[in-house]
Amino acid sequence: MPEFMHAPVLIVAVLLLAAFITPLLGKRQAATNAVFLGAGVVALVLSVGMTLRVLAQGTLSYPVGGWPAPYGIVVLVDVFAAYSSLVLATVALIIFWFAAFGPREVRHNGAYFTLILLLTAAMQGMVMAGDLFNLFVFIEISSLAAIAIIAIKGTKESVEASFRYLVLSALGSGGLLFSIALIFMITGHLNMDYIRTTLMVTAEQYPLNLLTSIGLMVVGFGVKAALFPMHVWLPDAHSNAPTASSALLSGLVVKVYIIALMRIAYLALGLEIFALFPIRHLFLALSTGALVAGSVFAMVQDNVKRLLAFSTVAQVGCIFLGFGLFNQRAIEGGVLHILNHAVMKSLLFLTAGVIIHQSGIKKLSQFSGLGRKMPLTFAAFTIGAMSMVGVPGTAGFISKLYLALGALDADMLVFAVLILISSLLNAAYYFPIIISAFFGRDSDAEATDPAFAVLAPVAVLAGMVFFFGMFPSLMVPLVRQTALLFVR
């Protein structure tokens, strides 16, 4: 399909164009929605086409301006990038849909949509970037936009949380830029392919530079991806954001940094050099901490959105666990979990937002009996929770199964047990909510299911949870080839 050759830049360009046009439309709500959703749809179509092209013809490398590497900027779309772009485009479009028609939480929808579009464009650019500096620029755009879509709510808590996020994110960016500078210093390249080939020669001469660089990079991405114990900003930031922002942040933004880090690992550093440093062991240790601490902290929360935010900390650990175990099935599990967690956590955050908006209740202790008053919303919440626990038939089961099998393949039974424990812990904090909502005694809160237009995106996400649970084979070619990039 030669017609999708330009898709990588067009995805970013279309989203950016829409981001710049929305503020001009001012208060014309219908036109703003049309541009906003239109850009999302176009991005999804381009992303699907690009993925099919990559599956058929292999890696797509696109020289911007016609200048070949190493002089020009090259966009490099391999299977991992195509898969990530597809996940981003799909889940983002559903969240766009909710942001446009769901309950309104921000005063200026035009500005809000601009920020969301900028964030999505930056994330798309980040997963496809072929050189470190463009990667850095996209990281910065997405960080700034991610902070802004929290602060735009304008409440005391959200502004405070976003400032804390900004400080830590700026620290992470500083570390990243430093590490890119060190790599540039010892290789003289920014293009990932050229860095890898040069590093094979120069790595031995500059072991300290490389060690410092990799350390700073892991910390920089770790802060942004909320890898335990660098997650301190996440619970406040994700729980105080507007609903659509929470879904975007928890569902997509934290994962994009993992994708970027792993792309650097195999594209820029090369697997040999990646294996020289104990990064995998670090991932294993930190993800264990994340799974345990995230789940335990989630159990003691009384605010539904804070509970979901802590659960994100644990699930980020799950993805890192896949890359820490580093064998075929574990990486397949981790990569699949990027999609599955994006779907189910967006579902949970959107339903939580709907519940809070319809009933005015944030506290889990007051959820009792609410499920009978708004059955559809709570049914969607139940589906998301089941998937988080990993009930067979839901998407969460598949990725956890792969992760557990990967742990067995690596002869590390302890991590298979860890995944089981984390599932049990998930059950321990999700199921009481559902039980008390459906079977608890009635509270005097007034609440009904919202209009169909609000629930439609939620229903689509719930359908996707089952769809990817029943037919995981749809994603298998992409996921398997992605894992093969790491385990040759």
Binding site: E140, K156, E157, F163, G174, A181, M185
Partner: protein, 123 residues
Amino acid sequence: MVIIERLYTNIYYLISVVLFIIGFHTMLTHNNLLKKIMGMNIMDTSLFLFFVSIGYIRGGQAPILREGVIQYVNPVPSALILTGIVISVSFTAFALALVVLLHKQYGTIDADKIIALRSRRHA
């Protein structure tokens, strides 16, 4: 003598690392939000210095084709740092805007006091 020579040849790197640590420390330890932003700027500037000094050659000229100039400075880091400066400016502006908002809402720009105010509201 060897140490002094190594110091001299690596002076830009040395200074930028020192600045980086000063900025990092300021950002993490100061309670005043404005000082945090200043720390962020010091850190960013140190990185710009580091990046530009990678491509700098003593006695090199601006990389524009002219007669009589043999040695050029590597233009790539400078071009990148231009982008870095823009990013840093936008981060600073946004952070300042947030500080203005925080001051409006909490009446202070001291991080500890803001946290105290917040926990009092929760209690």
